[in-house]
């Protein structure tokens, strides 16, 4: 369904991603992992059509998305990392705006928006301005907005950020059902336990390059490591966090008698 081919993108001559390629099929939940600054956001921005690559292309159902961006966007649902919303609108009004921009009928918007807000426990808040929402509530509005038009491809960038335990569980169940419905899901997260639980496949990216693309079980088996966290640490050559923490405490105490 989605095919990313040899993406390269640089900022002021500094490459952010290089030769990034992967595929996501319908019914698949693909985890996209990497440390800060690895190039995840750049890749996601290119996949969502918000950024153009210097090289490479993104195909959706065999077509280059830049050639049919309008129809591609109609099939895309996206939950960004930061919950940036128009703060003066209510949750219901925000969903109405998104529905209208996507060309849905008024009756359909009303039905879907109200039901999604109820299911996401935002019913009593639907008329309050988003500025009064907590981070988790904003995240739930974003998830509702991404699902409103029944997209074929869903991109979730840190969707559990700010969600409570119950909402987190609900979201994990939702991912499974979306995959069962044949949707292609790209799931970006730092919470490796969740990725291990919900993703069929994992792509690990570091310093702008894809380091691994396999099923979580295959990765742990191949590298003879107990879990995905250990695999991730080894692949991205994670620094010794304990010694860094120790050094930070020492810096903090400089100047003390």
């Amino acid at each position: 369904m989605l095919e990313v081919q040899h993406l390269y993108r640089s900022y002021r001559g500094i490459p952010a991603i290089q030769d990034v390629s992967f595929k996501v099929a319908g019914g698949e939940v693909v985890g996209f992992l990497g440390p800060n600054g690895a190039g995840k956001s750049t890749t996601v921005k290119i996949i969502t059509g918000m950024l153009r690559p210097n090289e490479g292309r993104v195909l959706f159902e065999g077509h280059d998305i830049t050639e049919a961006m309008v129809s591609y966007r109609a099939t895309l649902g996206y939950v960004p990392e930061e919950a940036h919303l128009y703060p003066y609108m209510s949750g219901l009004e925000y969903l109405q705006l998104v529905g209208r921009l996507r060309g849905l009928g008024e009756a359909l918007i009303a039905t879907k928006a109200t039901r999604l807000l109820t299911l996401l426990n935002l019913e009593s808040w639907q008329h309050s301005p988003i500025s009064t929402y907590s981070k988790g509530m904003r995240q739930r509005v974003l998830i509702a907005a991404a699902l409103l038009h029944d997209p074929k491809l869903l991109i979730f960038d840190e969707p559990l950020s700010g969600l409570d335990v119950v909402s987190g569980r609900l979201f994990k169940d939702l991912l499974e059902l979306l995959a069962a419905e044949g949707k292609a899901v790209v799931y970006i997260s730092h919470v490796l336990e969740v990725v291990e639980q919900v993703c069929n496949r994992v792509i690990v990216i570091a310093k702008g390059r894809v380091l691994a693309d396999a099923q979580p079980g295959d990765l742990t088996r191949l590298m003879s490591l107990p879990n995905l966290e250990s695999v991730f640490a080894q692949l991205v050559k994670q620094q010794d966090t304990r010694s860094i923490a120790q050094e930070m405490v020492e810096v903090m105490q400089i100047g003390n008698a």
Binding site: Y86, L97, L101, H127, T132
Partner: protein, 564 residues
């Protein structure tokens, strides 16, 4: 002198200096400006416009003084110019106060950042007040930099002041500063006591209405209050209520009292200025001192999360779903964001001032009024201010970081977005201005000519809307304009020139066309042709346009100069 100021500044506490610098930059909301704007340059250009106005005022004062030779006419002219300059200064201070409405109060961001630092609340209060006073002081100074010398120099040469110009110059500047202090102090008093007495949530809602009300009052009083320009008019019993209720006359009287030129029977007006100045200043100090700690506590204690209890938010539906989305997004942005409301209120104030003046003409007439420029000019100007105002407000961004949703949901071609913006302009600017004009035309005759004018007005409205769309390949409120790069001076004076060279001849042509069927037909054909041509042009350009959204503001690095 510079060294002396530096030494004096260095004596101020460091935390005060740092906060003052930060608050001074935030008196005007930077979110309204482009992410690439040159803020100091932008403010400098506004100061330039005020200085130019001051030069114009001083030239008019001098020319009027030299060319009016009749003693009583000269006195009337000088009385008028004194009152006009004081009233204009009060208007500018009032508008600056409205624009920086919340600048004196700590917002949630201030409280959250500063309350964890070892800074006394009084330091925050003083720094905030100093920043607001600094901006207001600059406005007063630039607006009077030339006229504030020219007028008192002339007045000092008249009989009355014992010390001549040495008396009139300080008296004039004292009166200007006192008038400004009265206005600023009054606003602070009202705000302070409201914040003190009301729960914070209600205060914030009420404060938004108070801001708009203050805006309307300042502009309304300026445009509507009559000018009393002769000693007889000032002394007339029927006019005493004007003197008693108009602060600009109080401070005019204060100046003349200090200048030694106030008739004894008007001393009560000057006394009113002194009393109200004292009340405003002491009220501001008292209320701010009392409310500051409490306001900061309220800001911290106010719960972030309160569920909503149903809401009525009807907005008219327009055309297809995209037009509906853009229109509703625009009207919600406009009505719910204070900064945008105030900006549009500035233009609407002109619309209502014109409407009010027209209404006053109609109510004063005992018989139907023959159609003339009395109707044509205000209605065209109302349409112009309504459309251009909305277009300009469209350029003020709401929340750049939230624009990603518009990009990811852009599932229709760009010309549809242009059409949606057109529908919004027609619905929320052209239609209301036309309806208001139609309502105000009821007393004018003959009816056929009035109907003809309304047809022309509607076509002009459509043309203005199309002109506003040229190059505007954006959704309203999603991109910022470049005020720091636009030449405010050129725009301001260019508009004044266009007004005199194009607008007035067009009015005269329309007036003659309304009397001749052939000429009127020709005028309508020209206007329809222009409207259609502009429509086709915008539609054609829209097809190949790329809808533009701004999203990521440049990172701002602020130097606190802690080692200064």
């Amino acid at each position: 002198m510079h060294d002396l100021i530096q030494r004096l500044v260095a004596r101020l506490p460091l935390d005060f200096r740092v906060l003052y610098g930060q608050f001074l930059l935030r008196v005007i909301d930077l979110e309204a400006l482009s992410i690439q704007a040159d803020v100091p340059g932008f403010l400098g250009q506004f100061a330039g416009v005020l200085i130019m106005l001051s030069l114009v005022h001083s030239v008019v004062t001098y020319v009027g003084y030299v060319y009016i030779t009749e003693a009583h006419e000269r006195m009337a002219f000088l009385l008028h110019i004194q009152h006009y300059l004081i009233a204009t200064t009060m208007l500018v201070v009032g508008l600056a106060t409205v624009i920086s409405w919340d600048a004196t109060f700590p917002d949630r961001r201030d409280v959250m950042v500063l309350s964890s630092l070892p800074i006394a609340p009084r330091t925050i209060l003083l720094a905030k007040m100093a920043a607001s006073i600094g901006v207001l002081g600059l406005a007063v100074f630039t607006l009077n930099v030339a006229s504030g010398l020219m007028l008192p120099l002339i007045l000092g040469a008249q009989p009355g002041p014992v010390l001549g110009q040495f008396q009139s110059i300080p008296a004039w500047w004292f009166a200007l500063i006192a008038a400004s202090a009265f206005l600023y102090g009054s606003v602070l008093t009202v705000q302070g006591f409201t914040a003190l007495l009301l729960p914070r949530r209600i205060f914030l809602r009420l404060s938004a209405f108070l801001q708009l009300a203050a805006f309307g009052v300042f502009l309304g009083v300026y445009f509507v209050q009559p000018s009393l320009t002769t000693p007889a008019a000032l002394a007339a019993p029927g006019n005493q209520w004007i003197l008693a209720s108009s602060p600009s006359y109080w401070f005019w009287a204060m100046f003349n009292q200090m200048n030694g030129t106030l008739p004894a029977q008007l001393f009560w007006v000057a006394h009113r200025a002194w009393i109200w100045l004292g009340l405003a200043v002491s009220g501001a100090v008292l209320s701010m001192m009392l409310c500051y700690l409490r306001t900061m506590k309220k800001t911290v204690e106010e719960p972030d999360l309160v569920p909503g209890a149903g809401s009525f938010s009807w907005v008219p539906r327009v055309g297809n779903s995209l037009q509906n989305a853009v229109a509703q997004f625009s009207i919600r942005s406009l009505t719910r964001c204070r900064q945008h409301r105030v900006a549009y209120a500035f233009y609407l104030a002109f619309v209502f001032a014109l409407a009010f003046s027209l209404l006053r003409t109609e109510t004063a007439a005992t018989a139907p009024i023959p159609l003339s420029l009395v109707l044509l000019a205000p209605t065209f100007l109302m349409m112009l201010f309504a459309v251009m105002g909305l277009r300009n407000v469209f350029s003020l961004p709401i929340s750049l970081t939230a624009n990603w949703v518009l990009r990811t949901t852009q599932v229709r071609p760009p010309e549809k977005y242009v059409a949606a913006t057109r529908a919004t302009l027609l619905l929320f600017a052209v239609a209301p201005a036309w309806l208001l004009s139609a309502a105000l035309s009821l007393r004018f005759r003959p009816v056929i000519q009035v109907a003809g004018h309304l047809v022309v007005l509607a076509l002009v409205g459509c043309i203005l809307a199309e002109v506003c769309l040229i190059g505007f390949y954006k959704v309203p409120f999603t991109c910022s304009f470049l005020p720091g790069r636009a030449n405010v001076q050129l725009t301001f004076w260019g508009s004044v020139m266009v007004m005199f060279t194009v607008f007035i001849p067009c009015m005269q042509f329309e007036q003659s066309a309304l009397h001749e069927a052939n000429k009127f037909g020709f005028l309508v054909c020209i206007l329809v042709g222009c409207a259609l041509a502009l429509f086709a042009y915008n539609d054609h350009r829209g097809k190949s346009a790329v809808i533009h959204f701004e999203e990521i503001p440049d990172e701002v690095i602020t130097t606190l100069k802690l080692n200064a």
